[in-house]
Structure formats: structure tokens, C-alpha cells
Symmetry: C2
Subunit: 185 residues, 2 copies
């Protein structure tokens, strides 16, 4: 990626830094700090992208938000065959499946659980809705890693980077346990 790029940092953005380091591509990191009392991203991010969210990248005139899309774009554009299967077929389908899953089905229940911890608890109805989904999600990740070593088979890919934050949120929410213990649950 060109050195003119800027990368905006927040917790979710760690994945993009990791990705750039794996690819050995130059990048410029622009840190933005969350409001320490509200946990929200700062207004400076609104000037880069109307959603005001991190991570966001600037690559020439392109401004992109959404971690899964950023990882997919960066690898397709600057990966030269590294960190992802070729862009067709079942292996690629599984790769983009995990990329979308992380901030799609996987994250919502975990994030609601974590927000509940941070904001004074969740009502029973909402808790009852998210708890089975958290368990299914974590079992599914554990099964894949125990079977294959990585999420998309025997090779490390952008999907592993993207999903790492799901486990971070699970850890913050005290939902994760050492992976071998999932085998017998």
C-alpha cells in the first residue's frame, strides 16, 4: 500500500496493523483515542469517514471502513497471493465466510454481552437471546482450529487475523476458555 495511506487506530484496528506487518507493506499509522468515559470513538474520526468508526484506511482517494472489507481489499490488492486463496471456488468461499462472520453473526452477541458488562447488565430477555449464540460461535471456531490448525485449513490467512478480535472480545467478556477444553463440551 502506498505510503500516503493513513490507518486510523482503535482496538479493532490492531488487526489491520497486524495485516500490514504480515504483508510487509509500508503504512502510516494515525492514532485516534477513544473517549475514556464513554468508550466512544472521537469526533476526529467523523472527518475521515461519515460513520466515524475505526478501523478506517485511506489508500490514495479511497476511504474504507469495516474491518472485514479492509482485510479483503488489502490482501486482494497488495497480497500478491499471500494470506488468501485465489478469488474463486470453495476455499475462497470459506475464507470470505469467516471474514464476514467475524463482525456479522459472531460479534453481535459477544459485543452485546460485553456492553452489558460495561453499562450495568442486560435484561433477561436479551441475555436469553444472545447466550446460545455465543456458545455456538465459540464452539464453531474451536472445532475448526482443532481440526485444521487455522480457520481456512492448514494455512494462516486474513481470516485468522480478522477473527482474532472475536476471541479478544470473548476474552474481555470472560466467555472464552482454553481451546482444548471445547473438545469435550
Amino acid at each position: 500500500m502506498r505510503s500516503a495511506n493513513r490507518l486510523t487506530f482503535a482496538t479493532r484496528s490492531t488487526r489491520i496493523i497486524w495485516l500490514m506487518e504480515e504483508l510487509g507493506e509500508p503504512y502510516q499509522l494515525v492514532p485516534h483515542t477513544r473517549d475514556p468515559s464513554t468508550f466512544r470513538s472521537p469526533p476526529t474520526l467523523d472527518r475521515i469517514h461519515p460513520l466515524g468508526k475505526a478501523p478506517v484506511i485511506e489508500d490514495s482517494t479511497l476511504v474504507m471502513a469495516e474491518s472485514g472489507a479492509i482485510i479483503e481489499y488489502v490482501i486482494a490488492t497488495y497480497g500478491h497471493g499471500k494470506l488468501a486463496p485465489a478469488q474463486s471456488g470453495p476455499a475462497w468461499a470459506r475464507y470470505i465466510g469467516w471474514l464476514h462472520f467475524a463482525e456479522g453473526s459472531a460479534m453481535m452477541p459477544l459485543l452485546v454481552h460485553l456492553l452489558g458488562m460495561l453499562t450495568g447488565g442486560l435484561p433477561d430477555g436479551l441475555k436469553g437471546f444472545i447466550t446460545p449464540d455465543i456458545e455456538k460461535t465459540l464452539k464453531c471456531i474451536a472445532a475448526e482450529i482443532l481440526d485444521n490448525g487455522y480457520l481456512t485449513g492448514s494455512a494462516f490467512s486474513g481470516a485468522d487475523i480478522q477473527m482474532s478480535y472475536v476471541l479478544e472480545v470473548a476474552r474481555m467478556g470472560k466467555c472464552w476458555m482454553p481451546i482444548h477444553r471445547w473438545k469435550n463440551t
Copy 2:
């Protein structure tokens, strides 16, 4: 897509049916009904994919969940250049950006809001966290459509199909208003 495929139906699955109709590809629809009291997907879905979620597609031996990934895969595999830009460059980046955004940043606050309506309300802390995000998301969609006609420019794409359910959830949650009214907010 081959006629051996099966498409598993739930509300989110409407998009995949719409996509297959747009592409004119044959498909087999397998309906699964939510539990009317819990709103949860039925156990029959667990036998197709360990996450037990809809939509899920079967294409030969490939089983895929996650709507954004399904749309991306189906268009790349069976689209023959329809409904998406070529798989590189800024237009494609914007296209996958919307595909990921729908069930990523966009859906979480809307779904939490809707779940709050269905399960007896949300605590103030959680409500305060999601409300600004809902407003930003809907303004961002409205601005794009008012400027360009479609989400990825002047042509209808899989991103418009994918994002349609975000507006459905906003409508169910009584958050959406006619698009021209967003212009002056």
C-alpha cells in the same frame, strides 16, 4: 447455481432469493420456520450448519452461512459480470465495503434496538450506546442513495440487495423515515 443446491429460508434469507431471481439461476428453496414464541431458528438448521443460522446455502459440497459472504460468492461464481464490479480496484472496494457493513457495523445497533422492543426494553446505558450509531448508519445510507441512486454508484448491485435487510430492520424498529427527509436532518 446447480439445481442440487438448497437455500434455507428465514427473514434474512429473502435477500438470497432476490439475488437468485436477479441472476436467473435455478435454485431449490428449503423453508425452515422460526419458533413462534422464541423467534429463534429451528434445530433443523443445526443439521445443515453448526451455527444453525439462515441464510445458508449448499452448492455441491460447499455449505455457506453469512449473507454478505453468500452474496459475494454467488455473484463471483454465477454472476458472469452482473450485479458487481470486477474483483479489484476502488469500485469493488466500495461494493465489498457495503456487503460487510450490512451485518457488521450497521446491523448490531439496529438489531439490539429491535431485540429491546421484543424482549421488554433496553437499559439506558445500552440505549445510549446504540442510538447515535443507528442515526449515523441511516444518514450514511440515505446520503449515498440520494447522491448516486444506488449504494455503489449508478448501477444496481448485490450491495443494494444485501443492505435492503438493514432498512427492513430499521423499519421494524420504527427508525427509518422516507429518504428525502434525511436530506435536511
